[in-house]
Amino acid sequence: MDKNTSVDDRPEPVSRRKFATCAAAAAAGWVLTACGPRRLHDVPRDRLRQLVRDMEREYSARYGTTVAVSDAGPLPGVLFGYALDISRCIGCRRCVYACVEENNLTRDPQIHWIRVLQMDKEHGVDFTHADPYYDPEQVPQEGHFYVPVSCQQCRDAPCTKVCPTGATWTEQDGIVVIDYDWCIGCRCCMAACPYGARHFNWRTPSVPPAEVNPSMHYLGNRPRPRGVVEKCTFCIQRVRAGRYPACVEVCPVGARKFGNLLDPDSEIRYIIEHKRVMVLKEELNTMPKFFYFYG
C-alpha cells in the first residue's frame, strides 16, 4: 500500500445541498408520521371521532345493520372495580355466553373471555385442581365450588408492560384496553398475564350478522381482525354509559357485583369494607381490581 496515502479521519464537511436534502426528508417524514395512523391511545379527539365514524360505516356495511361505535372516554372520579361471590356462584356459565353475545366474541373458532373453573372444596382455591371443562347434568355439583376467571384489570398490569408496540394500556378509569389496529399479534402479553385472560385470534373471527351486538365501543367489542389479542374490558361500551356489565346482569344467583371504587356508597366499597375479600395470585403483586369474596 502506498505510504503517502494517509487516512483523513476528519469528518467531511456537510455541504449546503446535503443539509437541505436531509432537513427536507426529516420534515416530510415528520409530516407523514403525524398525518398517518396513530395509536388510539394518543389520537386527538376530533380525529378519533372521524375514525369512529369510519368504523361505523365499515361495520354497518359488513353486518347489514346500523352499528353505533361509541368513543366515550373515562368518567372523572371513577375507578372501576368488580367483585364476585364465590360462595354463591353455581357454575352455570350464563355469564360466559352473555359475554359472548354482548362483546361480539367469535363463535367459530371459539373464544370465551370468562372461564369458569370448577374446584374441589377439599383443596380450596387451587389452580392445579381446577377444571374448566366440567359438564354435568346439573350444577352445583356436590363437593365443588366455582371460580369464574376473566381479566383481573390489574393496577400494575404485566401485560401492558411487555407490549412492544404500546397497543395495550390502562385507561384512567382502570380498564385495561387493546388497540386492535396496533396489536402485532406477538402474544407477549398472553405470556405475561398470570390469569390466562388474554385470547388470540388464530383464525378470522366469525360472528353471525344476525347475532351482532350493534352497540360497540372503539376500545371494546368492535369486530377484531385475525392475528390480534383480545380480552374482557368490563363491557366498556356499557359501563361508560353507566350500565352494569352484561355478566353482572345475567348472573342468576347475583354473585357478580360491580361499581366505582372511589365512591364510598358503591356496592363494591361495601363488599371490600364488610366482607372477606381476596384476589387471585396476590403474591404476584399485580393488584387486581377484580375481587373474590365470601358473602
Binding site: 368518567l75 371513577v78 353455581i90 357454575g91 352455570c92 356459565r93 350464563r94 360466559v96 355466553y97 371459539q110 370465551h112 372461564r115 374448566p132 371443562y133 366440567y134 359438564d135 354435568p136 347434568e137 346439573q138 350444577v139 352445583p140 359501563v239 353507566g242 350500565r243 352494569y244 346482569e249 348472573c251 342468576p252 344467583v253 347475583g254 357485583k257 360491580f258 361499581g259 366505582n260 365512591d263 364510598p264 356508597d265 358503591s266 356496592e267 361495601y270 363488599i271 364488610h274 366482607k275 358473602g295
Partner: protein, 192 residues
C-alpha cells in the same frame, strides 16, 4: 388530622363541655352525639337508604291472589290449628324450618291478603323483604346495600331490586340446581 387526634381532642374537651352543659342538657346529654359526630366525621359519608325499596310485583302463581277471594270470612273461617293441608295448597311442600313453622307464622289469618311480622304487624306482599329480614338480618342488610341478590340498572344511578321471593321460593328457599351451559371446546392442535 388523623382519627386518633380527633378522638384525643374530643376527650380533652369532653369534661369541660359536660360541666358547661350541666343542668340545661336533657337526659342522655348532647355531648354523646357530639363525640359520635366527631369520630364519624372522618369516615366517608354514606347516603341513607329509605326503608321502603321499590321492587317489581311479587311472583304469585296464576290466579292465587288476592287470597281473600277464597278465604272470605263467612264461608271459610280461619282454622288456626297447625295441620297438614289436604283440601287446598297441598302442592306446597314446606322446606323452610318446617319443624318450627307453618303457614300462619308468616301469612296473616285476619287479613289474608297480607303477611305479618313476628310481632303481628301486617306487611304487604310487596314488602315481604321486611318479613324475611326478621330472621335473615345479615342477608337483608346485604340485600339493601345491593350486595346480596340480583340487581339491574345503572352502577351510578337508578337500580332495580328484586324481592327475596323472586329467586327463593319462600316455602322451599334453597336455590334450585341448574343445567349448565355448554363447556368450552378443548383447544385443538392442527395436524403437523
Amino acid at each position: 388530622m388523623c382519627k386518633r387526634h380527633v378522638v384525643a381532642l374530643v376527650c380533652a374537651l369532653l369534661p369541660a363541655a359536660s360541666v358547661a352543659g350541666c343542668g340545661q342538657a336533657p337526659p342522655g346529654g348532647s355531648t354523646q352525639p357530639d363525640l359520635a359526630a366527631a369520630i364519624h366525621s372522618t369516615e366517608p359519608k354514606r347516603t341513607p337508604v329509605p326503608l321502603r325499596v321499590e321492587v317489581p310485583p311479587p311472583p304469585f302463581s296464576e290466579g292465587v291472589f288476592p287470597c281473600s277471594d277464597c278465604h272470605a270470612e263467612p264461608d271459610l273461617p280461619p282454622n288456626r290449628t297447625r295441620r297438614t293441608l289436604v283440601d287446598a295448597h297441598d302442592d306446597i311442600v314446606l322446606k323452610h324450618d318446617e319443624t318450627q313453622r307453618w303457614c300462619l307464622d308468616c301469612h296473616d289469618a285476619d287479613n289474608r291478603d297480607r303477611l305479618h311480622l313476628a310481632g303481628g304487624d301486617p306487611v304487604p306482599f310487596d314488602e315481604s323483604y321486611r318479613l324475611c329480614g326478621q330472621c335473615h338480618g345479615e342477608k337483608y342488610r346485604d340485600w339493601r346495600a345491593g350486595v346480596h341478590g340480583r340487581r339491574k340498572g345503572y352502577w351510578n344511578g337508578a337500580k332495580e331490586y328484586l324481592l327475596c321471593v323472586h329467586c327463593h321460593n319462600p316455602h322451599e328457599p334453597r336455590f334450585k340446581a341448574l343445567a349448565p351451559k355448554p363447556a368450552p371446546l378443548r383447544p385443538v392442535r392442527s395436524a403437523q
